[in-house]
Assembly symmetry: C2
Homo-oligomer: 378 residues x 2
């Protein structure tokens, strides 16, 4: 039985698409960028700022939350929205990716993955069914199937084995999902690394099972950008036009523009907050490293034409000082500035697609980034 479709395609411009995805907690305008609140909090950014920046949806990490404070506890407290106060839609990953990157002594079997918590060494089993249950307990609007993601480069056999396993887990996830919250969604994940025919096989298998939407996983895991884009060109056209498409863990503003141009609707990445903590600001004129001494006496804001107050208010000299002195406020301001930049980029993308001017928008954005930061003061 095919799952109901909550996505409405509103405009296309070449392969680029603009639409709206209706979730139990509100509508997500696409293309959408989901800021990552790993542990149920955006690092250094108040929820109010995430909302004000224009984010419709955020991502939370199942692996982290199931270990601490625990899915059952969050369920008892009313779910993630009630717990965190974030009122909008939340997409949760399945936990699989973090199990592979963070957990100790992990063992992948047909049944699922057994591992030890990186926090206290406790033994944990995560099966496709448990991953769905955990995401239901969290109150996720969009749940992801459990999959196995292979880091690139990897051999064809290893990629094929993980892809086939992920496909069998996809079917089990889909069966387990029958009991989920009305209106909530389940996305399947296309795997297959950098091998086109494996990507084809994975996509066909998932479509056969049938999901609310389709993610492309196993990219942005070490391969060059060209490989990632080639895989998008292989994979995106295989996916049902009427369903949302989510490129997991991507990426830089450049990556996002390229991927939108290849038919992707949704993105998530820790870059805005992680780079903010490291003193890097994303701006209309490309990344700006506030640690750089050239900012030390510069009274100008990062970008006085930005729609975001902090971006056009705080002096570079102040941000430089905060970053150099390791003041929390520096990470806080740069993280919110970056989240706001990403959201304004997405708003620009959506408007351009609706207006049929995506290509010129993309070229202008690239050109601005290439021009580099506003010229040093005379």
């Amino acid at each position: 039985m095919s799952l109901p479709n909550h996505f409405r395609l509103q405009a296309t411009d070449g392969a680029a698409r603009a639409g709206a995805l209706t979730t139990p907690h509100g509508v997500v305008r696409t293309p959408a960028f989901m800021p990552v609140g790993t542990l149920g909090a955006m690092k250094g950014v108040h929820w109010r700022e995430v909302r004000d920046a224009g984010a419709d949806i955020v991502l939370a990490n199942t692996y982290h939350l199931m270990l601490r404070p625990g899915a059952e506890r969050i369920a008892a407290l009313g779910g993630l929205q009630k717990f965190t106060t974030w009122p909008g839609p939340i997409l949760t990953d399945s936990g699989g990716f973090q199990v592979m990157s963070l957990a100790q002594l992990r063992k992948v079997t047909e049944e699922g993955v057994a591992f030890r918590s990186h926090i206290d060494g406790a033994s944990v089993d995560l099966s496709p069914e448990r991953a769905i249950e955990v995401q239901r307990l969290l109150g996720s609007d969009i749940a992801m199937q459990l999959d196995e993601c292979v880091r690139l480069p990897a051999g064809r056999d290893e990629i094929a084995r993980a892809m086939e396993l992920s496909l069998r887990w996809a079917a089990r996830s889909r069966r387990a999902f029958e009991i989920a919250t009305p209106g909530a969604m389940l996305f399947g994940i296309v795997q297959g690394g950098d091998v086109p025919d494996l990507r084809h096989h994975s996509a066909a298998g998932l479509i056969d099972i049938g999901f609310h939407g389709y993610a492309i996983g196993g990219l942005a895991v070490g391969e060059p950008q060209a490989v990632m884009l080639a895989m998008l060109e292989e994979t995106a056209p295989l996916l049902p036009t009427e369903r949302p498409r989510y490129l997991m863990g991507v990426g830089t503003p450049e990556d996002i523009l390229e991927a939108v141009g290849r038919g992707i609707d949704m993105f998530d990445c820790v870059l805005p907050t992680r780079n903010g903590r490291h003193g890097l600001a994303f701006t209309r004129r490309g990344p700006v490293n506030l640690r750089n001494a050239r900012h030390a006496e510069d009274p100008r804001p990062l970008d006085d034409e930005s729609p975001w107050p902090a971006t056009r208010t705080y002096a570079r000299a102040y941000l430089h000082h905060l970053v150099k002195a390791n003041e929390t406020l520096g990470a806080m301001l740069l993280s919110e500035i970056n989240i706001a930049y990403y959201q304004s980029l997405m708003a620009g993308i959506r408007a351009a697609i609706a207006a049929g001017t995506f290509t010129s928008f993309r070229d202008a954005a690239r050109e601005n980034w290439a021009r580099g930061d506003i010229a040093p003061r005379a």
Copy 2:
């Protein structure tokens, strides 16, 4: 020549006083608590929240700012208000206290104090005249004289020596201040440790020199609360009624209530933000340690009768989770909650003094703190 008086006493209730201190950047309602933004930033709290919480004035540390980013640089950038975006009054300390507690290889002479920066080991000289110059460069609304503060317990001879030196430095500070910004103020600092006759001597000497206001220093430096209060009882009555009185580095909510009852008008302390970073919330019902496991499943806010949104919004279970997981948002929320608590306490104190009900306000506050946190859920 006596310095102009910018303080207006508006109400008294026993020894407690309510008034208004007019500075170049606005009026400070007293009794006032000044949150501490050591390096030109409130740790974990946006300036907007400091203002919304009701703070009229903040404190910045001269020692830290003169080392990084440097007083001359801040002056070139338009002063602390322009640099930080905090629009209100700023009191700066003289740097002396931090030189004593943080700097390496410090050497106190009649001329001033020579030390090595704790950041890069650079040699720095701080004289009474340079301390005034630095504070003028920072754009301070209220500057403090350079003094030498002795940690207690200490012998009478040591306390007397430092007090006499501080008095000579006070006179030099006063002379150096002649050139300062119109409307800015200079406070002298009463020293004398826990020795009543030395406190008397210091206060008389400072009054003879003449300052815009008078601070009581050298307390809250290791002595029991009873000793501190006894010294306030000795010292406060010696100070000119019409001038503001500032108790440096104090303190807990209890300390503040006691000191207001002994005629103090101004306070500063890092406790709200420091304790916030350590998972401790100040509330109407006393301190609450959010690390405690009893909060792990508690959906209730810290205090649903608080005027501060975060205090009555976020579940204890969420704050507990953030604190346990070392999420920055936990420190951010608890720091703003604590700053807001202190400001609401000061507002309550001011209103009670104006109404002539300070004693009953103080008793009710104490009683509430003694009752402890809201009872565990049934």
